[in-house]
């Protein structure tokens, strides 16, 4: 071994020892069931609260109002197309952010909103409401809506914007990558 390689070898070995010591110090406690935090480590919310009516009787084409309250750290309340039977209703406020204009509760982490919902056709449906906190916590709440009255129209086909975006997230980078590879080949090839 060359003499001038010895300091480099010592430095590399030093880093390896540190790396092994650091990774070896990570210990899991699979039997622990209590939440992390509460002692200043992490701030955790116990559970998000989400309340409104659990059952509603409604008439096709006639709107009803849901008073939705979310708290304990809630940042969003959403009633989006595509969840459960949400496509069978039109919703006045599909997404409400904490302290936005539609939120009547000015406290941070608490949302109160009145959402006007119109059933499109007869039947018994599940309307799904979702809330999320600033962290990774999310909760959903299902309401059973029994709709009667004059048979309504078939709900119009919904445009699944999220699905379109998910597909684009795969194909647009691949397509642009292929185009850039072709351009790169043309730029770098030698005549």
């Amino acid at each position: 071994m060359k003499r001038n390689h010895i300091p480099k070898l010592i430095a590399v070995m030093g880093f390896l020892v540190l790396l092994i010591a650091a990774t070896g110090s990570v210990i899991a406690f699979p039997d622990q069931t209590n939440e992390c935090g509460g002692s200043g480590c992490h701030d955790t919310h116990a559970t998000l609260t989400l309340t409104t009516n659990s059952t509603v009787d409604a008439t096709t084409g006639e709107s009803f109002t849901l008073q939705i309250t979310a708290g304990n750290g809630a940042n969003y309340v959403a009633i989006k197309e595509g969840w459960a039977d949400n496509d069978y209703f039109t919703v006045s406020e599909p997404l409400v952010q904490d302290d936005s204009t539609n939120d009547t509760n000015l406290a941070v982490g608490e949302i109160s909103v009145e959402v006007t919902i119109t059933p499109l056709t007869n039947g018994t449906y599940t309307l799904r409401i979702w809330t999320a906190s600033a962290g990774d916590l999310a909760e959903s709440f299902d309401i059973t809506v029994t709709v009667t009255g004059v048979p309504g129209t078939t709900p119009p086909p919904t445009v699944d914007l999220f699905g379109i975006w998910s597909t684009m997230m795969m194909w647009v980078p691949i397509a642009s990558g292929v185009i850039l590879l072709i351009l790169g080949y043309l730029a770098l090839r030698r005549k």
């Binding site: 940042n75 969003y76 959403a78 989006k80 997404l95 999320a132 906190s133 600033a134 962290g135 990774d136 999310a138 914007l161 999220f162 975006w165 684009m168 997230m169 647009v172 980078p173 642009s176 990558g177 850039l180 351009l183 790169g184 043309l186 730029a187 770098l188």
Partner: protein, 167 residues
């Protein structure tokens, strides 16, 4: 604490400036080909300084975009479940990935070819035009980020004029 804005403003400004410089260099290359190839002329010096500016801008763009994406997903007030529910954020996520590809392309092509990137039309046209496209994408994404946070942007009338809908 919001960390994403700290990581995006600086390189967004540089990349928009890079797009303008790329446009100027493209025009110089097309209109004054003989002057920029004459060593010692002022135009030649400016051209080559602009070329270095675009190269450094591409490197900053690539690194800055990755930093911006990482900090964007770490933003405590916008969990990923909420981000993907907002069309503005979906637009930003998708086109920031394409922008990373664009700046990676610019970086690799310029690193491999050096300032010879400006010799062939098949290399300098994509190089300059992608630099401009990247800058415009960054400008639009920055404006949409501003709209998401503040509710408006000075680019609002331009987005309207181009036909890009914003909430």
């Amino acid at each position: 604490m919001a960390i994403h804005p700290v990581f995006v403003h600086f390189h967004t400004g540089i990349l928009v400036a890079t797009a303008v410089v790329a446009l100027v260099n493209l025009l110089l290359r097309v209109l004054f080909r003989d002057n920029i190839n004459t060593p010692g002329t002022r135009l030649s010096r400016i051209f080559h300084q602009f070329d270095v500016f675009i190269y450094i801008g591409s490197i900053i763009g690539f690194l800055g975009l990755i930093a911006g994406m990482v900090t964007g997903f770490m933003e405590p007030l916008y969990p990923i479940e909420a981000l993907v529910q907002m069309p503005v954020m979906r637009f930003k996520i998708l086109w920031s990935i394409v922008s990373v590809e664009i700046y990676l392309y610019l970086m690799i092509v310029r690193a491999k070819l050096g300032d010879r990137v400006w010799i062939k039309a098949s290399s300098y046209f994509p190089y300059a035009i992608l630099g401009i496209v990247g800058g415009v994408l960054m400008m639009i994404m920055g404006a949409l980020g501003g709209i998401a946070v503040y509710g408006s942007s000075i680019l609002g009338p331009i987005l309207d004029w181009v036909g890009i809908p914003w909430p």
